[in-house]
């Protein structure tokens, strides 16, 4: 999902494990919330590990000034 508007810092970045119903495998996704608590954007795909998920979040502004 593309950003809808410029993000306002500080933000809340959320990294959430998601279990596939059929296989039971855990994947990860990220979400970024505005200061007001509204979901601003989220990852477009699921990741096998939290580390990969964070790497992707960085591409979208996580940890960036």
């Amino acid at each position: 999902m593309a950003p809808k508007e410029p993000l306002h810092i500080p933000l809340r970045w959320e990294f959430v494990p998601v279990q596939q119903p059929r296989t039971g495998i855990i994947s990860w996704r990220w979400r970024a919330h505005t200061q007001g608590g509204r979901l601003d954007k989220e990852s477009e795909q699921l990741f096998d590990t939290l580390t990969e998920c964070m790497e992707d979040a960085k591409q979208h502004g996580y940890g960036m000034p």
Binding site: P10, R12, E14, P17, L50, P65
Partner: protein, 627 residues
Amino acid sequence: MDPLLYQRMIEQTRDYALFLLDPSGRIISWNLGGERLKGYAADEIIGRHFSVFYTREALDSGWPAHELQVATVEGRFEDEGWRVRKDGSRFWANVVITALRDEEGQLLGFSKITRDLSERRLHEEALRQSEERFRLLVDAVQDYAIFMIDTEGMVTSWNAGAQRIKGYSRDEIIGRHFSHFFIQEDIAAGKPWEELASARRSGRAELEGWRVKKNGERFWARVALSGVYDEQGHLRGFAKVTQDLSERRHMQDLEKAARNVNEFIAMLAHELRNPLAPIRTAVQVIAKSPDDPVTREAMRQTIDRQSAQLARIVDDMIDIARITKGSLVIEHQPVELADVVRRAVETAAPAIDAARHAIDVEVPATGLVAHGDSDRLTQLLANLLNNAARYTPPGGRISVRARREDGHGIISVRDTGRGIEPQVMERIFDMFVQGRSPLERVGGGLGIGLALARRIAELHGGTLVAKSDGENKGSEFIVRLPLSPASQAPAEVQEAVAPPAAVPRRVLVVDDNVDAAATLDLLLRSLGHETRVAHDGMKALDIAREFRPEVILLDIGMPGLDGYEVARRLRAMNHGTSFRIIAVTGWGQDADRSKAKEAGFDVHLVKPVDLGVLSQVLDDRSGATLH
């Protein structure tokens, strides 16, 4: 009344000497009691002056005449004192002399009643002596402070033990309030008065706690306070006995430390076995399937992960040594706390991932700049996150938040885990203490994480505290760090970069461990370097003369010539080519690095050497050192 009967009552009274004196003091009557008490028969004493019953000292002071004079003037005189029997022996007497007058007031003489109080006197003397002995005993006791306080808590007596233990002399403390012996926190909490109230209610109070000496030094004391009552049952004060238990407490602390160390060793053995077992298995698997690239790659990854875990354990142990010696030092650079949080979350990601916890990160991207050590602060926060991951049941939530408050950066790590029981809230910051049974030993642990985290916070002038609403209600750890006055973002952080391609070099590997030398040799060759290997110092010197290496990777702990000596001899050899000597050793203490530098080493790398660092060192043309 029949006068004869009255006369016989007087004459036959045995327990009192009842007799009459004329106005001048001569005895004019006598009774059986007089004969019994004083030993004179009536015909021996009648007509003699009553001063015959007095001691030499009393006669010299004119006491008999004084008695008659007082009785004449006041009508009556009463006294207690020594009197003398006919045989010269003394007895303690109570004497009442009454003036006898006629109707016109004319003095007719005196009646004198004497009672023998020798027995009571003996009792009183025995009691006095007993009390004196007891007082001397109490006074002489050195091991206990024994003293009295009145009902308001003012000190009224003091023994030698009290002086020894508390440091006050008798003159300094008598009349002062006993709250002087309490520490400030207890005074503020009203404990001295609580203690008095408790002893008033139950007649006794017994407790242990910190007390303070005159010089301000604290000691751990056992105190017994007992009410002292008079014959009517009224409270007159309290007897207080204080024993200095500092030594016993010190012994208990030592025993506790020994227990903790024993538990630590057991835990360490367990933590070392965990990664060692899969490494050994992986080696066996590779041995059985040497030609299967898939299996070999999987085993390589296993060994890589587990050896990294072993390296972390060794790092923890080095930190333990530093904390114990008080030599944990930090760098002082501007540190952006947002960056610290990001790195710490990445460090703890495997533990969070394994337990499937969701994690929230809410941190201002810039503007929280502390002055300190970025690596250590990251370690602090990563410890808190790893702890949260470990003590939260799978599928929990961890929240990291940072904000500014009164010139401080506040970072909190909150989890939805098992929480902390109030009674262990402070103990969790002790070394080697872990929860009762971690739900899952994610990444293991030596029980020093929180102790180290708090120490790092303190070295930055900050604090680390824990909060929990109780069991299964989650925990929150709050780090408070002073921010730099300007609190501006630091210079752009240089991101870690992958090691560049190696510049081929001539490298001599020296290690008495054949396996270690062989693997390092293989690694260097795979990077494109030309290598030679030596397993002892003399061989290394021989090869160096011929091979003329640009870089020498030299182990320090070797039999025969150790690494230091080899380095000195290499430096002494002048073969016309510049070379760098790199220590590759298990000894990572600061002192070891200094010693290596003195011996001529350019760089000090601690085993196991990170590939990236090794490549960087081998490729470094500047000659910069990594000591």
